[in-house]
């Protein structure tokens, strides 16, 4: 056994003796981590992956077929009607945009707050963000009546000298979501560069070398590279941080700016952001609980990581629940009969089933996470994260549909029932998501190797010195260090 290995074991022993647990378990060395993560992109394609990929592709093809059917016939193939002009498409859009938030929160905000535990999960969370935003972006494009003119929402100079109408929140959405997507993608890609270079250096075929060589942009790991890289990463994190808050605030404006009772609510921006983080973390838990098991990276994405995420789910779920109750209070307190009826109708009207699904999944179920044992139980959190995903989809459904189906004039009230095409499109969007996520798992390092190494005890400049012993006393831990 090399001396390095001994040092790691020492460090692990020290960490186990202190209150703060180590981020990486199992006594993995830098090389072990590289091996563990890179291996999955280099090995022969496993049959299980092919099976999963085929399944996801069926979903994707369903989505493509549904969209083709929609384009050929018109929006009438969905269940929309006169009072309910927005249905599954907008619900799915808001749902997917919300899912995306966890990645950016983990990679940007937690980075700025020096939450070192983020390193184990940020790569996959960011990938999830990008894929979720891609899924979301499908919907505004296809939900319009005349898809061939959808690009009129973009400010493209044209012979008509017509600009989009800047007062419309839908236009703000266009900007907010496209900026968010661009920044997320760039941020993710920058973070990938050192790891892509590692893969390049390990590549055994010339094609792999060339492709990875191109995408790793000549990274050599030089000091200057690292300096520029870290500066760029910090700047992008700073840039992405306000976007976490702004995107879902802007998405919430689609509703909040209108006059529809149940939509016209000032609490929407913070409530939507909290809900987005809530749903995003739930999705990260869902994905990682499976991925860490299958890919054997349980020592990198540990139960400690998952517990931290569950704490955030508990926090944001309670915030969302608080917002639900606040809405009711404000409806009563405002004295506006339309508001009052809208909320009464939500809880006890024809869509009460959707409302109580949302309430139980989002507010009630996450309360189990107060119990530490449940919070650390992998099967329990998996089930819970699915519930939260369902609940958050229903939240958007409740907001969109129940508000529209009964607004001001009772003569116009109606009911919205989705068609088979609506349902298949939703399922198909998961197909798109999983197709992209499976490609990511297969071809890219699913853990930010360089960053994980950076938070290991060996990364401390004083680790090997035994000089003042500082490194031993304070190995990098889950909680921020005091100094």
């Amino acid at each position: 056994m090399s001396s390095k290995r001994t040092d790691i074991l020492q460090a692990a022993t020290v960490a186990e003796q202190s209150d703060d647990p180590l981020l990486v378990h199992g006594g993995l060395s830098f090389h072990d981590i590289t091996d563990l993560v890179s291996y999955h992109t280099e090995k022969k394609t496993p049959v299980a992956w092919l099976g999963a990929f085929a399944l996801a592709n069926i979903g994707l093809l369903t989505l493509v077929a549904c969209i083709a059917y929609l384009f050929w016939n018109g929006v009438g193939v969905w269940g929309l009607n006169n009072p309910v002009g927005w249905g599954y498409a907008i619900v799915n859009f808001v749902f997917w945009v919300g899912i995306g938030h966890a990645g950016t929160l983990i990679s940007a905000i937690l980075f700025l707050f020096r939450q070192k535990w983020r390193t184990g999960i940020n790569r996959s969370a960011e990938a999830m963000t990008i894929f979720a935003v891609i899924c979301a972006l499908v919907f505004p494009g296809i939900h319009v009546g005349r898809v061939w003119a959808a690009y009129w929402m973009l400010p493209i100079p044209n012979q008509m000298q017509m600009w989009p109408q800047f007062k419309s929140p839908l236009l703000w959405d266009v900007f907010a979501v496209s900026v968010y997507f661009t920044v997320s993608l760039v941020f993710w890609y920058i973070g990938l560069i050192p790891d892509l270079a590692s893969l390049r250096d390990r590549a055994k075929t010339s094609l792999r070398q060339k492709v990875l060589g191109f995408f790793s942009m000549g990274w050599t790991g030089a000091n200057r590279h690292w300096r520029h890289y870290e500066k760029a990463y910090l700047l992008l994190a700073a840039l992405a941080t306000p976007l976490v808050l702004s995107v879902h605030s802007v998405v919430s404006f689609d509703f909040a700016v209108s006059v529809v009772p149940g939509w016209h609510t000032t609490i929407f921006p913070p409530y939507f952001v909290a809900g987005a983080i809530f749903s995003g973390f739930a999705m990260v838990v869902t994905l990682l609980v499976i991925a860490r098991r299958i890919y054997g990276i349980e020592d990198i994405i540990t139960v400690d990581h998952l517990e931290k995420m569950n704490m955030i789910i508990l926090l944001t779920g309670t915030m969302v629940g608080f917002a639900y109750i606040t809405e009711f209070f404000i409806a009563w307190y405002s004295g506006v009969q339309y508001e009052q009826y809208a909320f009464k109708n939500r809880a006890f009207g024809p869509y009460a089933w959707a409302y109580w699904t949302m309430m139980s999944c989002n507010l009630i179920f996450p309360q189990f996470f107060w119990v530490k044992k449940l919070r650390r139980s992998v099967p329990f959190m998996f089930v819970m994260s699915i519930f939260v995903n369902i609940g958050m989809w229903f939240e958007r459904f409740v907001i969109t549909v129940t508000s529209l189906h009964r607004d001001y004039l009772p003569s116009s009230w109606d009911y919205y029932t989705p068609t088979m095409i609506d349902v298949l499109t939703l399922i198909g969007s998961f197909g798109l998501f999983f197709t992209l996520f499976l490609l990511f798992l297969r071809f890219l390092p699913m853990v930010a190797m360089a960053e994980v190494k950076g938070v290991m005890p060996e990364a401390d400049p004083h680790f090997y010195g035994h000089g003042d012993g500082q490194a031993h006393a304070h190995p990098p831990t889950l909680s921020p260090t005091v100094d």
Binding site: G74, W86, G145, W152, M153, V257, S411
Partner: protein, 1043 residues
């Protein structure tokens, strides 16, 4: 660019030679090379060597690629093009026509035996819109639903197009020969629709001259005219009452729905009644309605007595006895009913200013009682104008009965049916279908190959009234000539006058000559001038029936006792009438006045009856699924969906005629590809519109005069989930929750007259306090953001007019005429039952119907029915405009909210954000599947909307711009009355006022200052340009205190 095959012989030979040279080479490197060369030579000897078919060219690969590239480029270019449509100018310009400027012609529409004076808009020879003839004494410019919809009948793709004999196509020559061969001794029977045409009456004598044994029977699918029969019996001569409600202070309706479009004199009744309800009058009339199910009239009433239809006669008798028109009678207890006592008291007090009338669904004796009451009150001459109609024909039950028995007895050789469809609509008691088989030759003249056409020997295609010459009398007797707007769309169609003439004389004379010949005896003085004048005006002034006076005798027949047990009343349908309008898609999709049901007919009953029968309506997922009931009367059965509605009398079921048609059409069936939804969305796709809609109920009747069937058995049967499409979700208004919401939101504001006169009625008080807006500060937004201050509008003169609308709920009866007028004017498409059920109907103006009870409580059967037309409110602060991402809905400088169809991308955000939910979305391409003939009915001045765009009421912007152009040409400002919206123009009650707010003298400016004005949802601060004028009721204080 493309290399051509080498055609140069000499060059071709050198190519061949060089090839030969190569093969003759003796040098080789290996054995295989040598052998291969040999095998090539072997191949060359074959006649068709590989490649021998190819063109001899040096560069076939390049050519191939070039051709591919070019064809792809061309295909791509062609793909970018819209399909070619040829627009041809007139080769020879017709006189008087200016392209794009419509012409208007006065003509008249036959309706239930009378003519309705109409003015028809024609674009380049194509009639597109029917308006009332403003100069006609009855119409005065207004119309009902049937006039508006009749233009679509002209373009009906299922119209009969050819002469048929025994179901096979034949020619007029064959028919002419067959008729010419008939001997003079032929026993001919003519079963004719109700008509007032002097020319047809002339044909009658011509027929009698040709066939000595001709009999003429007038028939109507709705049965005989009980009102006419009752008045004839009471006054001893043929008289017709014309009601002058404007003179009345008390109106009592005994099941008379005189405010519905089905009434023969609908327009006049509505105008007269509206005049009596004006709050500007010193007094306002009071309307009592005695009826078994809510009707338009019942909705307008101040007091409504809910009784079973068979009890109406007893109520009428009690009233008649109360006013002394008949001797006092005891028994049925209605004399002591507080409402009846109040009616009697009021009628006695009103004297000649009172009027009572009975409905066509009541037996003759009720009309006799009404005649006696009116006569007793002295109302004849004041509120009832009695006119002499002796000499006119009317449908007669007795004649029809005799004809049928003669047919069965073989006493009829040839039966000629003119415009009637007795196989479908004759009462079941007659067994007309069976009798038809006993007649040797049956000839049917009709616009469709209907049930009777299918059962007849001959079917002759008839023209639409817009294609033919004709004549007749309006309800008040005014004579009109029907002049065609267009040559028959199908050259084989002939008018009934031409056909009758052919049968009578064997001559193929034109309708024009026949009518002129007849009218040479009608018009006096210079015939040519008088004829031209009649055609121009559309009527002969002063040609109405003579007013007469007289005293009515007491009814000869005994008043029938009210039946016990379940009873059925059969009414004409408010949209399909007797079924003659059933193939009209506009009318099928018009919601019923009360039930708001489209594309169906139902058995209407109240909760108590439904409970007793064990039937229910279930509203699940926004769609009604109802139980069916089997109704049996006299052995005849109908299986029909049950519909529960408040306000129906107990143990009473109301049915409507006109559904359950079976038409034949030769239109090809639509066969789209599997992934295309056209099959489901094309209302014209599954053959004739009328087929498969609703149930036939006409045969349930014993005789045509029996509209009330007692001794009926009913049982739940058949399906329990029959889907019913309504345009109003809350339908029966069942839950107390929703009743409370309606009561709190007060979309329709009502105040009693006394409170209003005392200035205690506050219509403007919206549900939210603090949003009251006095008139003086009303157009504040417009002043603030004056168009002259905006770059976009600075140079537009249009801001000089500020358009606005008021809808007077005190006058609106909810008759649907505005809806149809809008549909015709603005090319509104029909979406079909399934799509209405999905909430996708496209009407730009809808009539909301609410039932109201005091504070949302009380017995819902005693609820008040109110209506409210809702078009786009044209908010100054429009919520739809700010949310559109592409600026497809914007404000015009003249204050209207405009929809720019070709800019709209269909996000539907505007519709979500519209508090009135007046925006309509094109979920599919409704115009793609329109049959070619229906496309002719479209107004060329209004864009036909594509799939995926939003649409809504535009305040008839095309009419506004037309007036703008005209005033620009004449260099003058727009004058009051230059612009009339389609809904306003059709409204007989003049409930809709439209005009320029900038003109302080305009009617709209005056209406906006009314103290009854309120804006719907004013508390949202959207500042609608459309205001409502609150409804005033005039309840009897005596009844109020008792209640």
């Amino acid at each position: 660019m493309i290399e051509l095959p080498i055609l140069d012989e000499s060059r071709q030979s050198t190519v061949r030679q060089s090839n030969q040279g190569a093969s003759q080479q003796k040098l080789w490197r290996s054995v295989s090379e040598l052998r291969d060369a040999e095998s090539l030579q072997e191949l060359a000897r074959l006649e068709f060597a590989p490649g021998a078919m190819d063109a001899p060219t040096e560069s076939s690969r390049r050519t191939f690629l070039q051709l591919m590239g070019a064809s792809m480029a061309l295909a791509g270019l062609a793909g970018c093009r819209k399909p070619y449509e040829k627009i041809l100018p007139y080769a020879r310009h017709p006189e008087e026509i200016i392209e794009g400027v419509p012409m208007y012609y006065a003509t008249a529409m036959p309706f239930r035996g009378s003519l309705l004076g109409v003015l028809v808009e024609s674009h380049e020879g194509r009639p597109t819109k029917i308006e009332g003839n403003p100069q006609h004494p009855v119409s005065q410019g207004a119309t009902g639903v049937f006039e508006q919809a009749s233009v679509l009948d002209l373009y009906d793709p299922d119209r009969s197009k050819t002469v048929m004999e025994q179901g096979g196509q034949t020619t007029w020559e064959a028919f002419g020969a067959a008729v010419a061969a008939l001997p003079a001794s032929t026993r001919l029977a003519v079963l004719c629709e109700e008509t007032s045409s002097p020319t047809i009456l002339g044909m009658r004598s011509a027929l009698a001259a040709r066939f000595a044994q001709t009999r003429w029977v007038t028939y109507s699918g709705l049965g005989d005219n009980t009102e006419l029969a009752g008045y004839a019996s009471a006054f001893g001569r043929g008289v017709r009452p014309l009601y002058r409600f404007s003179q009345a202070s008390v109106v009592v309706s005994f099941d008379a729905d005189f405010l519905a479009s089905t009434d023969r004199n609908f327009v006049s009744n509505t105008r007269e009644f509206a005049a009596s309800r004006s709050t500007e009058n010193a007094t306002m009339s009071r309307l009592y309605a005695v009826e078994g199910m809510y009707s338009t009239t019942g909705g307008m009433s101040d007091h409504r007595l809910r009784v079973r239809p068979s009890e109406v006669a007893s109520v009428a008798a009690a009233v008649a006895a109360g006013v002394g028109a008949i001797p006092p009678r005891g028994g049925d207890g209605f004399a002591s009913n507080p409402m009846v006592r109040a009616i009697v008291e009021e009628l006695n007090g009103a004297g000649s200013r009172g009027v009572v009338l009975a409905g066509e669904n009541q037996p003759q004796v009720v009309h006799e009682l009404c005649a006696a009451i009116n006569s007793r009150l002295g109302a004849i001459g004041t509120t009832v104008d009695l006119v002499d109609v002796s000499g006119t024909t009317t449908a007669s039950d007795a004649d029809f009965r005799r004809l049928v028995s003669d047919m069965k007895g073989g006493a009829v050789d040839v039966l000629l049916m003119v415009g009637v469809n007795p196989v479908y609509d004759a009462p079941g008691g007659f067994d007309f279908g069976g009798a038809l088989g006993s007649v040797g030759t049956t000839i049917h003249i009709g616009t469709h190959r209907d049930e009777t056409a299918a059962a007849s020997t001959w079917h002759l295609p008839r023209t639409h009234y817009l294609e033919s010459w004709g004549d007749g009398r309006a309800y008040d007797g005014t004579l009109s000539v029907i002049q065609p707007l267009i040559a028959p769309l199908y050259p084989d169609c002939r008018s009934e006058i031409e056909i009758l003439n052919l049968i009578a004389t064997g001559e193929q004379a034109s309708g024009y000559d026949l009518v002129r010949r007849q009218w040479s005896g009608v018009l006096s003085g210079d015939f040519e001038a008088a004829w031209r004048r009649t055609l121009h005006d559309g009527f002969v002034p002063g040609s109405g029936f003579q007013s007469v006076s007289g005293r009515a005798s007491a009814p000869s027949t005994q008043v029938p006792a009210a039946s016990t047990g379940l009873e059925i009343q059969i009414r004409p349908d408010t949209r399909l009438l007797d079924g003659s309008f059933a193939n009209n898609a506009w009318l099928q999709e018009t919601p019923d006045l009360v039930t708001k049901i489209v594309w169906d007919n139902v058995a209407v009953m109240n909760h108590a009856t439904a409970e007793a029968l064990g039937v229910s309506n279930t509203l699940t997922n926004g769609q009604y699924h109802v139980d069916e009931v089997e109704l049996t009367f006299d052995g005849r059965k109908v299986l029909i969906p049950a519909w529960i509605l408040p306000g129906v009398a107990d143990n009473t079921i109301v049915l409507t005629l006109g559904s359950g048609r079976t038409l034949l059409s030769d239109r090809a069936e639509r066969k789209p590809i599997f992934f295309d939804t056209d099959a489901k969305t094309d209302v014209y796709g599954d053959g004739p519109i009328a087929n498969g809609v609703g149930q036939r109920v006409a045969h349930l009747r014993s005789t045509s005069s029996s509209r009330i069937l007692s001794g009926v058995t009913a049982a739940r049967s058949g399906a329990t989930n029959y889907p019913i499409a309504t345009t109003q979700d809350h339908g029966a208004m069942d839950t107390p929750d929703i009743r409370e919401v309606i009561a709190r939101r007060e979309p329709v504001r009502i105040a009693p007259l006394a409170k209003y006169k005392a200035h205690e009625a506050h219509f403007q008080e919206p549900p939210l306090a603090g949003a009251t807006e006095p008139w003086e500060s009303y157009p504040a937004l417009w002043e603030e953001r004056h168009p002259t201050k905006s770059d976009a509008y600075r140079d537009s003169p249009y801001f000089q007019n500020q358009w606005a609308m008021t809808i007077d709920l005190n006058l609106c009866t909810g008759c649907n005429a505005c809806m149809l007028a809008c549909q015709s004017e603005n090319n509104i498409q029909v979406v079909g039952k399934d799509q209405v059920n999905r909430g996708r109907e496209l009407h730009w103006i809808r009539i909301d119907r609410y039932f109201m009870t005091e504070h949302g409580e009380g017995d819902i059967d005693d609820a008040k029915m109110v209506v409210q037309p809702i078009p786009c409110q044209h908010c100054e602060n429009a919520p739809c405009e700010s949310v559109c991402p592409v600026a497809a809905t914007v404000h015009s400088p003249d204050g209207t909210n405009q929809m720019i169809y070709n800019r709209c991308i269909g996000t539907r955000y505007c519709a979500n954000n519209c508090p009135y939910k007046v925006r309509r979305f094109n979920f599919y391409n409704w115009t793609k599947t329109l049959p070619m003939s229906v496309q002719f009915a479209q107004n060329p001045n209004v864009t036909v909307r594509s799939r995926g765009v939003m649409e809504k009421c535009s305040y008839c912007i095309q009419r506004i711009r037309k007036a703008n152009k005209q005033s620009n040409v004449e260099n003058r400002p727009i004058r009051e009355g230059d612009v009339k919206t389609a809904c306003q123009q059709a409204c007989a009650a003049s409930a809709i006022t439209f005009g320029d707010l900038n003109d302080p003298t305009s009617a709209i400016s005056r209406k906006k200052q009314s103290d009854r004005r309120y804006e719907l949802l004013a508390e949202l601060s959207v500042k609608p340009r459309t205001s409502y004028l609150g409804r005033i009721t005039n309840p009897n204080p005596a009844l109020e205190t008792e209640a």
